[in-house]
């Protein structure tokens, strides 16, 4: 047995390797989607597809990579050689959704495959019928983009230009795509080099034994935490507004069994899969459950396959959480991933009330395409501003405008001054939205209000992608729900309520988007909120009057 000090040092080395892979990616990625919002993950897995370490970039990527490695192994069997680089994105072959490409470098000791260095990164475009990888109109996955089943990009050191050219030809920004792909492969090669150095220093046997202990240790930590939770069978439900294709109130239902130090999450009772792109792939569903688990345990707990042994997941193929091909799935890393995580967290309210949190705001973005009259050039602008609020927790209020619930405050919005300089936009107001959060002992974080003037000279069009105009951020343990999103397009005297999955919304010169984003849910009974906190909220204008609590039902905003 390897001594505990060596195991500890090897752990810290692996954790540093995935972080270094991330830094290499940040420095070399071409598209700034990757190096600004860090929408990528780096990881080391072993040959049995066990996740050893994953850099903490995107919560919804956590824990899903084992299915990707299995897909490569299923495809290639023994035909995996030193110098190979693999690629995939297909959600029905180990991916989570099409915009996320996954690059793999196998790591060998002598002739024996031991580990994998992996980079998964979100592309700004992946082909398909709309620009930007999100197509609310898709009813089949082929409309969402290019499907890449596991393939070799490098074959024993030979770069397969034919394959790379074919893929690049099928996306909209080839240069950017190729630059990012190079960065992904470079980052995985950094991981390979560093793992080889550990192997050389300690020898393969010591490293492999250490990995067993590392995973067992994480499992032990996780189980020790779960063991403190109340045994029982609990249910939680979270509901999506719609799929954009006519189906409304799509529920995700979790039945969670806490038995000693184990969890079983049964999602079988969720809504049948739907026509629109809110369906989840299997790996994405697993990731969403793991994300909920990582939020419930101590945040310092490692996030590896050992951690996830403590939870068994049961689901039914053909439901919204585990769709059958060829259902479209692109929005699922946001929705229904957030709803899957929420259903688990809501179920746990009675099992571990000191660990659950209230609901965070949902994603609801707008992409506008038009012509800038100052330059006569076409522009495409994505609304990243007007963030919703975070959910309250057992220790305090929710963070103002830190939502969306799948990113948990890890995705930055840009400068208003820069946006006005670069695009024909005028931000009249961009402030907190008073009364938007759920009341409680701890209140939710405020959402935003944005009045955005379109300073265009000819008509433009907008697409939307999101959730949460009818279903709000939920309150927890007596805390109230927040207000849902309310997005409007004001055109002359008319007012149009925007739905969350629309394409080709006409936008006229002088139109104003009036965006009011959701507040977070409250935690604990409002009676328990301190008088001081209430006085501060009033003084700071977070509430508009002493009696004006946030509205706790959703009916009042059901105009659309």
């Amino acid at each position: 047995m390897v001594d505990p000090v060596t195991v500890s040092v090897v752990t810290h080395r692996f954790e540093a390797i995935v972080e270094e892979m991330g830094e290499a990616m940040l420095r070399t990625a071409y598209s700034q989607i990757l190096n600004s919002s860090r929408d990528f993950s780096t990881a080391i897995l072993d040959r049995d597809a066990r996740l050893i370490a994953q850099a903490e970039h995107v919560p919804i990527h956590v824990g899903s990579l084992p299915w990707a490695v299995r897909a490569v192994i299923d495809q290639f069997g023994d035909n995996i050689r030193p110098g190979d680089v693999f690629l995939l994105n297909d959600p029905y072959h180990g991916g989570n959704h099409l915009p996320d490409l996954t690059a793999f470098v196998p790591i060998f000791d002598g002739g024996t495959l031991l580990f994998w260095a992996i980079n998964r990164a979100h592309q700004s475009d992946i082909g398909g019928s709309t620009h930007g990888a999100y197509n609310p109109a898709a009813t089949e996955i082929w409309q969402e983009g290019l499907r890449i089943t596991p393939l070799k990009l490098h074959d024993a050191g030979e770069i397969r230009d034919d394959v790379i050219t074919m893929i690049a030809t099928n996306v909209r920004h080839q240069d950017e795509f190729l630059g990012d792909l190079r960065a992904m492969i470079g980052s995985a090669h950094v991981g390979e080099r560093r793992v080889l150095a550990i192997l050389e220093e300690y020898g393969a046997d010591v490293v492999r034994e250490s990995v067993d202990t590392i995973l067992d240790s994480a499992e032990r930590e996780t189980r020790a935490c779960i063991a403190t939770w109340r045994d029982g069978v609990y249910t939680g439900e979270s509901v999506l507004d719609d799929d954009g294709q006519g189906t409304e109130d799509i529920h995700v239902r979790a039945t969670v069994t806490v038995a000693g130090d184990s969890l079983t999450v049964d999602l079988s009772d969720s809504h049948p899969q739907v026509k629109g792109f809110v369906n989840s792939s299997y790996p994405n569903m697993m990731s969403a459950v793991y994300m909920a688990l990582t939020f419930l345990v101590d945040p310092r707990t490692p996030k590896n396959s050992g951690t996830f042994r403590a939870v068994d997941v049961i689901a039914k193929e053909g439901t919204v959480v585990w769709a059958k091909a060829p259902a479209p799935v692109t929005l699922a890393t946001n929705h229904c991933a957030q709803e899957i995580a929420e259903s688990v967290i809501k179920a746990m309210a009675q099992a571990c009330p000191d660990r659950v949190i209230a609901g965070w705001g949902r994603r609801f973005r707008i992409a506008i395409k038009g012509v800038d009259p100052r330059t006569d050039r076409q522009f495409i602008w994505h609304l990243f501003h007007a963030r919703p609020g975070a959910g309250a927790s057992p220790v305090g209020d929710g963070w103002e405008t830190a939502g969306e619930g799948q990113a948990m405050g890890s995705s930055k919005f840009g400068s208003v001054e820069v946006a006005e300089t670069r695009f024909p936009l005028f931000f009249e107001t961009h402030e907190f939205r008073p009364d938007s959060f759920g009341d409680g002992q701890f209140r939710g974080g405020a959402g935003s209000v944005l009045r955005l003037h379109m300073e265009i000279a000819e008509p433009a069009v907008a697409n939307t992608a999101g959730e949460g105009v009818r279903h709000p951020s939920f309150g927890m343990l007596g805390g109230r729900d927040g207000l849902p999103h309310r997005y409007r397009l004001l055109s002359g005297d008319s007012e149009r309520f925007l739905k969350t999955k629309e394409i080709d919304v006409p936008v006229l010169p002088g139109d104003v988007f009036l965006v009011e984003s959701a507040g977070g849910g409250g935690f604990g009974p409002p009676e328990a909120r301190s008088a001081e906190a209430r006085a501060e909220d009033l003084r700071n204008g977070f509430v508009s009057g002493p009696e004006s609590g946030p509205v706790s039902t959703t009916d009042s905003t059901r105009e659309n």
Partner: protein, 684 residues
């Protein structure tokens, strides 16, 4: 004439005086946090005593005092700054608290939000609006201005920050507001974003302006108190304040731009490293400053430390150019814990109270320092030159408990703590290097901070770094380094435009105007003035700019713009391994650094020590088994001597360990220059 550097830390005030010949005399006094100037004056008295003078005589023979202060830092970190109001464009008063949608520590979902420096009810929206081209969209009327000033008056604040959208483009509204505030509230400190940081991106600008207002009154009142006391004590020379950018500035300038002094203390260490780089003829250095709770590292390339505009200090964002110092959460006081089967060290620290178990102040958790005691590296009787006895039994007991959790002995657990903390620090340095695009193997590691000497060669070995330098002025390194700094003003102006539509004349005018302003700030400085220029640029579709030095480009050249664009492509290639010739290039900010060169600091070789070279003592230490190693007194080693490891070196402020295979040579300045061999099989 003397030059005196003063660095006020939490516990000690360190003073270094240097005469014309470069001879260094040092003194220490206890810091007096309530009014740091008291400890400072006391330190000057001690220093005068060392030189056989009284304080007035010393001050009469002193031409310059350079001072690093933590007054601004502490005000910020301990939330003891001024009561601030913020005037901002109506409809945009929440920029500072929106945090660009970010929350720290994404997996930690049970975390209360931070208390804002300026609560929402003190953030006042003013009816005015500039457009992105600098034109006036909504005029600032006398009425709305009056209304705003009245609201500020009602709040009864000490300071006002003013930050309007697009004011980097047109400062008029802010200037008028500043005048109105000065007229109505003459005792209130006013901070205008167009003066503090006239740079696009409102989040960075509003934070920096608010921090300036928050620490400004505190720092300026301290500095005026200090000036008065020094004058009373008989000093009539210059007082310079160390700034976060590594240069110094006058008291007046430091009071105006107080946010520039929030990292005044650590900047002294980097100034010292810059000077060390010159003295040892090695420009590529990584500083390794390991203290009680954390380790600060910084990279010097070509003898220069890099600046960043992305500094986070506590919850605050300060975007003035600041030395790029990275803090790792591992130091002597870092606590060990076992999670599952894995040993972790830090980031939690035992701090000074209760401190490590061996301090005997009630701490029971094993720390890095306790491990060093158990391994025999720290002599229990000789810690800090014997000023503090260590309780080795308490250290032993703490490591016993840790060992029991790991299923091993106290000594093995102590070895484990050392290995884990060394790994953490080495990997931290590696990641910071990768982030800056450099390979750490070609750097030398410079060790300072009390805890560094026991870890530095092992960290070097893990990074395949061959050379480690331990300066023996380490105990007052910052104070000494400050004396090597120059007067410095960092100016920035946003100048957003596509390169293809920017005229050479327009760009030249912006740069020359900034140079003029910088020279004016030097206020009649008689010495050599150096001007450096850079532009922040990006490709059209990118979000982030990179800073491109344009020194040596002829401003009068007709193809000025083409030349800077060529520099940009080259810099982009260097940083990101690609460039895109055909793409549109955008110039975002112009930067100018105006430096008033102060006379160079001399560093005298060691005087031959009059003391007998003491025979080394000996101590039993654990290095893969227990062995006896010689213990040398660091301060009396003759220059040129060479000592092979394993060996220990002790001074009143630090202990240095070299291992088998490593060789320490004593430099002419009495420093250790350590050769660390590559381990077998290392990558070359």
């Amino acid at each position: 004439m003397y030059r005196i550097g003063i660095d006020i830390g939490g516990t000690f005030t360190d003073i270094a005086a240097v005469d014309e010949n470069g001879r260094v005399v040092i003194a220490k006094s206890s810091s007096t946090p309530a009014d740091p100037s008291e400890g400072l004056l006391e330190g000057l008295r001690v220093l005068a005593g060392e030189l056989g003078l009284d304080r007035a005589e010393l001050l009469a023979r002193t031409e310059r005092i350079v001072h690093g202060t933590t007054v601004a830092t502490n005000a910020l970190l301990e939330s003891k700054g001024a009561k601030v109001a913020l005037l901002t464009t109506e409809g945009h008063r929440d920029v500072i608290e929106m945090r660009e949608g970010m929350k720290e520590d994404r997996y930690n979902v049970r975390m209360a939000p931070p208390v804002p420096l300026v609560p929402r009810h003190r953030r006042i929206g003013v009816k005015e609006r500039l457009r992105s081209d600098g034109s006036v969209g909504t005029a600032l009327t006398a009425e709305s201005l009056k209304d705003a000033v009245e609201q500020v008056a009602d709040l009864g604040v000490d300071a006002v920050a003013v930050c309007y959208l697009h004011s980097y483009r047109n400062a008029e509204h802010e200037a008028v507001t500043g005048d109105a505030l000065a007229a109505a509230l003459p005792d209130t400190y006013v901070s205008l974003s167009s003066e503090v940081l006239p740079q696009i991106k409102e989040y960075e600008r509003v934070w920096t302006t608010v921090v300036n207002a928050y620490v400004g009154p505190v720092l300026s009142s301290y500095l005026s108190r200090l000036s008065a006391k020094l004058l009373d004590a008989g000093y009539s020379g210059e007082v310079m304040i160390m700034h976060s950018h590594g240069g110094v500035a006058t008291i007046a300038e430091s009071s105006r731009l107080a946010a520039g002094a929030v990292l005044s203390g650590p900047a002294g260490g980097i100034a010292a490293a810059t000077h060390i780089a010159r003295l040892i003829g090695e420009g590529d250095l990584i500083t390794f400053d390991m203290g009680g709770t954390s380790t600060d590292i910084a990279l010097l390339q070509g003898g220069e430390a890099q600046l960043t505009g992305e500094k986070q200090v506590g919850i605050a964002k300060v975007s003035l150019p600041t030395l790029d110092i990275h803090t790792l959460g591992a130091g002597g006081g870092s606590m060990a814990r076992v999670a599952g089967a894995i040993l972790h060290v830090g980031p939690e620290s035992a701090g000074a109270a209760p401190g490590p178990a061996c301090y005997g102040r009630g701490g029971t958790v094993a720390t890095v320092t306790d491990a060093n005691v158990v391994l025999g590296y720290l002599g229990a009787e000789r810690f800090l030159g014997g000023r503090m006895a260590l309780d080795s039994a308490a250290a032993e007991a703490a490591l016993e408990r840790l060992g029991a959790e790991l299923g091993t002995s106290a000594v093995t657990a102590a070895e484990g703590v050392a290995k884990v903390v060394n790994t953490t620090m080495a990997e931290g340095i590696r990641i910071v290097s990768v982030r800056r695009g450099v390979d750490p193997r070609r750097f030398a590691l410079v060790s300072f901070g009390g805890a560094a000497g026991l870890h530095v060669t092992e960290v070097a070995r893990l990074l395949e770094i061959r050379r480690v330098v331990v300066p023996n002025v380490a105990s007052v390194l910052s104070a000494w380094g400050m004396l090597a700094s120059d007067l410095r003003h960092e100016l920035v102006r946003s100048h957003v435009g596509e390169a293809s539509t920017t005229s050479a004349a327009g760009l030249r005018e912006v740069l020359l105007r900034m140079e003029e302003e910088g020279r004016a700030r030097l206020d009649g400085f008689p010495g050599t003035v150096e001007v450096r220029r850079a532009l922040d640029m990006r490709y059209g579709e990118q979000i982030f700019e990179i800073t491109v030095p344009v020194d040596g480009v002829d401003l009068d050249a007709a193809d000025l713009v083409e030349q800077v664009v060529a520099r940009f492509h080259k810099r982009h290639e260097d940083l990101y391994s690609y460039h895109a010739d055909g793409q549109e290039v955008v110039i975002v900010n112009a930067r100018t650094t105006v430096i008033g060169k102060l006379p160079e600091l001399q560093a005298a070789p060691l005087q031959p020590s009059t003391a007998e070279v003491a025979e080394p003592g000996s101590r039993r230490v654990h290095l893969d088994g227990w062995i006896d190693v010689p213990v040398h007194a660091l301060d009396v080693l003759p220059p040129g001597s060479s000592i092979a490891g394993p060996a220990l070196f002790e001074s009143p402020t630090t202990t240095v360990l070299i291992r088998a295979g490593e060789t320490a040579t004593v430099t002419p300045h009495g420093w250790l220059d350590i050769d660390v061999p590559l381990r077998a099989g290392a990558e070359r």
